[in-house]
């Protein structure tokens, strides 16, 4: 057992920060999340206290969970991210239940790499596209950039993002780019690094290295 | 004049004061106490609790007082209050078979195990106004306590269970699935029976009565018999951590109606009786009977019966059953709509102007041609219109194909 794991075992649920003022803090966090999903590719900083040592998720992801989860939500967690007693902390602070079945998850805590292994998340149906999993993704870095280009609703013209290594981000962007072909079914994603967060909605058209250009994206390019 | 169409805060405040004054009535009258309503207008209280989906006789009585006796308004008040209550626990299903019976009748058997118990009912009263009540003098009957009122009767078996032994009536099976909760999630049509029963249970009594009645008059007839109607008190239990047995948190009054309906059967299943079910808070016998009739009518599809009548059309019946929704949407017509009306005014003036121009042009043409001794063939206008419509349909079809 290595050092990190020893620390993790010792972390108690209440060592994870909760919201000091649940009513107003969750409202503020929600407005940031709503702004992010409404304008994909814009960056926002979620102010949150430090997470306990050994935590493998970002403070921004934790903030999103605190704002959105409760007894009525089920969360799927990539095993690599379930450090520092995360599951117990999530249950303690929100009452959310964990699920092993990605198809039942309202939210899924993942990395881009998770998505090259796991493809069972709920996409919703054409009749009920809202019955889908929302991804909360940890990436190594998040900034404006020129690796990935977003267009569509919420984006005037186009917006560029960089998520660290383009190669390592590719499984995530492939999954999100596939949304166009199956719309309105699809996955929406909050993407986070540290306290920084952005969103890519299923309505977003994506272009970047390794992504097939869709007719739709081309048309957007032309009109932009 | 412009300002006069706007209300403003003063007008609202005054309207509220005026309504409160009306509600109070003449000041030389004693003010009605909530406890009096709760005790002496119990059936009104029960109806409000049932349709508000909240069991609280005192608050239901308060709602009736505040609403000047307007049941629909009282239901709305209690429903709005219900929204603000936290969900503390989920109760176990109540066992109506273990009900402490106050009234229990069956129309399908002369006598039944446990006996027919008439209980408190208006059923066999002669509907003669009792002028003693008008005089404020209690009738003789109220001075002597009724038999059985104190102790309540023993629990007794459900009559329909007796038919079960022979397999004559369909069995209700609990498949163990978690029922949908209409107070937390919107119903997505088509809904299952558990959801439907929830919607009917809070449905407006008058509406269900009319629909149930319509099935008796042939619009979705299903040959009902009142298998059993029971009223009484049931225990409400919850599971508490650390206790092996469920914990009883109180007792509520309930009414239940089990209708027995004509049998269905097919090649696979032997003919058997089917059921319609009604359940409500408090003493709400009429409501539960109507509910059972409508429940049975809505089972048409499940039982392979033709769907031909209003009471059998699930989405129609269920989407319009809630008095809070219905009265809200009807009453919203009182809100200003002058912006939309302005849009309509603008259009209708334009259409009339164009119509007048067309008429004038036709008249001119007629007077021109009359000089030449010919008249337009009758119905010419019609044929142009139908040609136009045909072009329109053709174009619309193109559009439709483009959309696909």
């Amino acid at each position: 057992m290595n050092m990190t794991q020893q620390i993790s075992e010792a972390v108690r649920p209440h060592d994870w920060p909760g919201l000091a003022d649940p009513v107003h803090d969750s409202q503020r966090l929600f407005r940031q999340l709503l702004g992010a999903m409404s304008e994909p590719g814009t960056l926002t900083e979620l102010a949150l206290p430090a997470l306990p040592a050994g935590a493998a998720i970002s403070p921004a992801a934790w903030g999103a969970l605190l704002a959105l989860c409760d007894l009525d939500t089920r969360v799927w967690v990539d095993q690599g991210l379930a450090r520092a007693n995360l599951a117990a902390a999530l249950a303690f602070h929100t009452g959310a239940r964990l699920t092993d079945d990605p198809a039942l998850a309202d939210f899924a805590l993942v990395t881009p790499d998770t998505l090259s292994r796991e493809d069972g998340f709920a996409l919703g149906s054409d009749a009920w596209p809202d019955r889908s999993t929302t991804l909360i993704v940890m990436v190594e870095a998040l900034a404006q950039g020129e690796d990935w280009w977003l267009s569509g609703p919420g984006v005037p013209g186009r917006r560029g993002l960089a998520l660290g290594s383009a190669e390592r981000a590719l499984p995530l962007m492939r999954v999100l780019a596939a949304n166009r072909g199956r719309f309105p079914r699809g996955l929406d994603a909050f993407i986070s690094s540290g306290m920084r967060l952005t969103a890519i909605a299923r309505s977003t058209r994506l272009a970047g290295p390794g992504l097939a250009a869709t007719d739709d994206a081309e048309r957007q390019e032309e009109s932009a | 004049m412009y300002v006069a169409v706007k209300g403003g805060e003063k007008a609202i405040a005054n309207a509220h004061r005026w309504m409160a004054d009306r509600r109070r009535g003449e000041r030389d009258q004693r003010e009605l106490e909530v406890s009096q309503i709760q005790q002496q207008l119990g059936l009104a209280v029960d109806r409000v609790m049932a349709e508000a989906s909240l069991y609280d006789p005192e608050l239901a009585a308060l709602a009736l007082k505040q609403a000047s006796g307007d049941t629909v308004e009282a239901v709305f008040l209690l429903r709005a209050y219900r929204t603000t209550l936290p969900r503390l626990a989920e109760t176990l299903p109540v066992d109506t078979g273990a009900m402490r019976i106050e009234r229990r009748i069956s129309a399908t058997f002369k006598d039944v195990p446990g006996g027919q118990v008439l209980g408190p009912t208006y059923d066999y009263t002669h509907r003669l106004l009792d002028f003693m009540l008008l005089a404020g003098e209690e009738a003789e009957t109220t001075t002597a306590a009724p038999q059985g009122a104190e102790e309540g009767l023993e629990a007794c078996p459900q009559i329909l269970d007796c038919l079960n032994h022979e397999g004559l009536i369909e069995q209700e099976q609990d498949d163990g699935s978690e029922p949908y909760d209409i107070t937390r999630d919107p119903p997505d049509f088509p809904v299952d029976r558990a959801t439907r029963l929830q919607m009917l249970a809070r449905g407006d009594e008058g509406y269900l009565l009319a629909l149930g009645y319509s099935t008796q008059r042939g619009y979705g007839r299903n040959h009902p018999f009142a298998g059993e109607i029971r009223q009484g008190a049931v225990e409400v239990e919850i599971e508490v951590e650390g206790f092996d047995e469920p914990v009883c948190v109180g007792e509520i009054a309930m009414s239940e109606c089990q209708m027995i309906n004509q049998f269905a059967g097919s090649g696979d299943t032997a003919p058997q009786f089917t059921r319609g079910y009604g359940l409500a808070f408090g003493r709400n016998e009429r409501k539960t009977m109507a509910m059972a009739l409508v429940d049975r009518a809505l089972r048409a599809e499940e039982l392979g019966e033709p769907i031909q009548s209003p009471a059998q059309q699930a989405e129609f019946v269920l989407a319009h059953a809630d008095s809070v929704e219905a009265s809200g949407f009807v009453s919203h017509l009182k809100l200003p709509h002058y912006v939309d009306f302005q849009s309509e005014l603008e259009l209708i003036r334009r259409l009339r102007r164009e119509h007048a121009e067309r008429t004038a042009a036709t008249a001119e043409a007629v007077s021109d041609t009359q000089g030449a001794g010919t008249r337009p063939a009758p119905g010419e206008g019609d044929s142009t219109r139908s040609e136009k419509a045909q072009t329109a349909n053709a174009q619309a079809k193109n559009v439709q194909e483009n959309v696909r």
Binding site: P22, D25, F30, L34, S38, E39, A47, P49, L51, L68, C69, D70, D72, T73, D126, A127, P129, D130, A141, G152, P153, P156, P184, D188, G194, M195, A201, S203 | M1, Y2, K6, G7, G8, E9, A11, I12, A80, T83, R87, D185, P186, F189, E315, V324, S327, V330, L335, P336, H337, Y338, V339, D340, Q342, S343, L351, N393, Q395, A396, E401, V403
Partner: protein, 296 residues
């Protein structure tokens, strides 16, 4: 990046000036708000799609703005400034009543000035003044389903949306043209959002439809009785349905506003005597007032 020790913004003494302390901030309990918030996130991700939500009874009747109110309650924060309009006016009775409700249960600042509001709840109008990126417009919606009057069954219309089967809507509009020579829909005029969903923009006059297209502000729609909510994110294509030979057009008036002289705003007709004499004035009272003040 991970400068995580900073707890700024969390629990930093949020103003709790809610007046009616018997109820939670903005009336709804937190669990209900979260349910609505989760639904709102889906709504912006699927523009124009009607997301079902567990609508609650509000202390106002259904049909009087309960959907808009539930959305406002879920979105509103203590530092927001709220504006409420009905028919474009801040002083219509229902707008007054809803504004008073949020003053009472949330203690938020309210305003009648469009430019000063961060959240605007509206019934039947979009303000004339162009909305900004830091503003949210929340519509009250009576019947969210644009296909409802063609197909009354929810089961059917759900399939029609799923299959993008909107031909019937065009047929209906074209029947109008055949019958009247014009599309006879003057308000709640259907739109197509981002080329996919046909959506009811609520009963705004079609005059307001162009304001939905590529708006800077987020637009949220709430139908309480029907328990549906939907959204148009900023910078989203919103096209009013029309035909090549009958393009979409908006209402126009022959005269300017009798009070402020505006020629670019939606006008209400006011009858000023019993002989039927009329005058036309802006329906957007804030727009009219601010123009009049500028002139003075």
């Amino acid at each position: 990046m991970n400068t995580a020790s900073n707890a700024q913004g969390v629990g930093a003494g949020a103003p709790t000036n809610a007046i009616d302390s018997g109820y939670n901030f903005a009336y709804l309990d937190e669990q209900t708000k979260r349910m609505i918030r989760r639904a709102l996130l889906k709504a912006v991700a699927i523009p124009g799609y009607q997301v079902p939500f567990g609508g609650r009874e509000m202390p106002m009747p259904y049909g009087w703005g309960t959907g808009g109110m539930q959305l406002t309650a879920s979105v509103l924060g203590a530092d927001d400034t709220l504006k409420v309009i009905d028919q474009g006016a801040d002083d219509t009775t229902n707008a007054v009543s809803i504004r008073a409700f949020f003053e009472r249960v949330a203690g938020v600042e309210t305003t009648t000035a469009t430019a000063q509001a961060s959240v605007i709840q509206t019934r039947h109008r979009i303000p004339e003044k162009t909305l900004r990126a830091d503003q949210i417009l929340i519509f009250q919606v009576p019947i969210p389903e644009p296909l409802r009057f063609i197909e009354p069954s929810e089961e059917e219309t759900r399939v029609m949306h799923a299959l993008e089967e909107y031909g019937v809507m065009h047929v209906k509009l074209y029947e109008d043209i055949a019958h009247h020579g014009h599309i006879a829909t003057t308000y709640a005029y259907p739109v197509k959002v981002d080329g996919r969903y046909v959506m009811d923009p609520s009963p705004i006059p079609k005059f307001d439809n162009p304001k939905l297209h590529m708006s800077e502000a987020l637009m949220l729609f709430g139908a309480g009785r029907e328990k549906r909510l939907y959204a148009i994110p900023p910078h989203t294509r919103v096209e009013s349905l029309d035909f090549e030979d009958h393009p979409f057009e908006i209402q126009a008036w022959d005269e300017p506003c009798a009070i402020c002289g505006a020629t670019d705003s939606y006008l209400d007709e006011v009858i000023i005597d019993d002989q039927g004499a009329r005058m036309f004035v802006c329906s957007d009272t804030d727009y009219c007032n601010s123009r009049s003040e500028e002139k003075a």
